[in-house]
Symmetry: D3
Subunit: 141 residues, 6 copies
């Protein structure tokens, strides 16, 4: 989305905010992203989100915490992220989290199984809803 010409809204231009043009506040967040990910570049999602530095800060903080080391291994976390992104249909997210998954060691066979499960789950979800299936007693214990 772009702000129409002649808008008086500051910072409404929606070109990505490159590191070179970023405020010190935004640069600090970019630095943390690159340090955490051990990369030397910032992807478009952050560069577009950066138009609102509070959103950038909060979302990066959340992602760093949620996708950081935990009990689930890094690849499993990406597979879960991809499952959601495919289900909601976010093209950018499918591409970026797909790239992450490959980088974290996903194999073609794992990718095929992920697709199979996501597709099938979207199917059985609708069948269960259509049939208004009551939750089994033993699932409630």
């Amino acid at each position: 989305m772009t702000a129409p010409t002649g808008t008086t809204a500051p910072g409404a231009s929606f070109a990505p905010i490159e590191y070179a043009d970023a405020s010190p506040e935004v640069r600090a967040i970019y630095d943390d992203i690159m340090a955490s990910r051990k990369t030397d570049w910032i992807n478009n999602f952050w560069k577009y989100l950066a138009h609102d530095p509070q959103n950038l800060r909060r979302i990066w903080s959340d992602l760093k915490e949620v996708m950081g080391p935990g009990v689930l291994d890094p690849l499993t976390k990406e597979l879960i992220y991809m499952a959601v992104s495919i289900t909601t249909g976010c093209r950018y997210c499918i591409a970026s989290h797909g790239a992450s998954a490959w980088a974290k060691g996903m194999s073609a066979a794992q990718y095929g199984e992920l697709l199979a499960i996501v597709g099938l789950a979207n199917q059985t979800n609708r069948l269960a809803v259509a049939l208004d299936v009551p939750v089994d007693e033993r699932f409630r214990t």
Copy 2:
């Protein structure tokens, strides 16, 4: 959903089809489900789907293949299934696949991380779509 009284549609009653009342065709599928899952009971999803034996056969065949042994371990497969079910909002599926996940060894900590990722992914998906973020060149190679 229930068929109104006085309908001439055969088999339109939507009570679950119990093993004792099932046709030989449906019983054979029930037997295969119990054998594959090493259980002695059939959950409601199958008992409601069984009103259309072709659907029951095809969906069970798909699920057996997709959720069977593969390169992803069984718990990871359930986590992916849960991620989709939470995103689409299927209450039955969340309950039944949640139960499966616990049975396959999911810990409370893993469950907490699953929730965290699914919630966050649903958030960042919408942000990326709202901002119409273009896919980075390096994701296209």
Copy 3:
């Protein structure tokens, strides 16, 4: 949803508006619904929507036009309505449009095929999105 006690919002109570308690404006719409559908009762959807008579009027007008006689036969129209309601997960809509479909002659076999298609479409939709399949040239002519 209910309005909290002590609210000063007029008409905020969310009990359904029964014919006997309805304003002349709402009764006129209820009369038209019953006349069009050749029934002697009003279902809950209209009785809850009636809290905002403008919404009731506009939505009934739209539905009467869209679900009225056309080139698609009445049952086909209900099947399409059910396909959407199952996909979005609206429990009330699945029940009410399911009842309509049975009343318009849907058979159990047709219902089974509807479920099969809706389930499968929800699956293949996600696969196509996941794989970012480009639209074939010949589909663009």
Copy 4:
């Protein structure tokens, strides 16, 4: 979507219907759109919808009524429209209602807050559904 070559369906070409090529019925609706919006052009949504003049008429009538003067101010109405469009992922709608919002005075700060709320709501919605949180008693009064 385009109709394949050689189709016998009249009006199946899916090029937008420009004012100059429109029927008197469609032109009348275009005129009303421009008069209501105080503009001298028609956007693509209407020009594609116009292939079915009944749909064009009904949808414009609904939009004119719903987005016209009311108790919610015009910008708030656009923010709500954007919230839905982002959640469903309609790229065209995000662009066109975003443009409307800017035109109605949305500031960059307001846009940032809108994004923040829409993102967070999509997150907490899934968490509440995943946990099957029962509605609190006091919300039912």
Copy 5:
């Protein structure tokens, strides 16, 4: 999505798998698709899905069964498929199933009615959910 350069994942390239480059297993499935559909070409969906031959086999088998001859006529089946694809927002699916529908005899008037129903259903679904409308007693019989 594309696998990054230097990946060690076999078959991770995401160019479509053309007939000429396909394995005997995949060619056999392509042959069956063309024979069933009485065509001499394979659309992109299958050529991208073919990276995982198991998925290709299973999905084609499901689609052939579900969209094959049944009690619903072929065009009605496509209309249902389109209703789902529009609701989930799968651009590829809308294009390919739209093309199928035209080929199976859909008229412009039928297409207009399909759009009208899908749009309206998506609206009333949300209204029923917002108002938490309870299912009428008579729909439960």
Copy 6:
């Protein structure tokens, strides 16, 4: 969802965590929620989320920031939250954010307009996607 009996997962019971039973860490968050909202009770969403104190902390922190004072007034923020919750179909969220909106001064007329916009937007979103409407040039400036 409930953990099956005999699970070894600590804290897997899914009864809500009441203040009296909460750990000091969770109580501190409950205290902050009540102080910020000027209430003396905790709603079910937080009591179920509290099973994972990290999730509780992070989500409350996000919500406090996003729904706190800003450039959008508090009621407008709730209307946006409701628009998303209705669109995704989260019954709990519709109830709790509806209650918040009433408490923040929403009138029945405002509620009626909110419903009207959310319903209509869900409709036009699907029409724009179905017709694959290209974004107008002037929206890209």
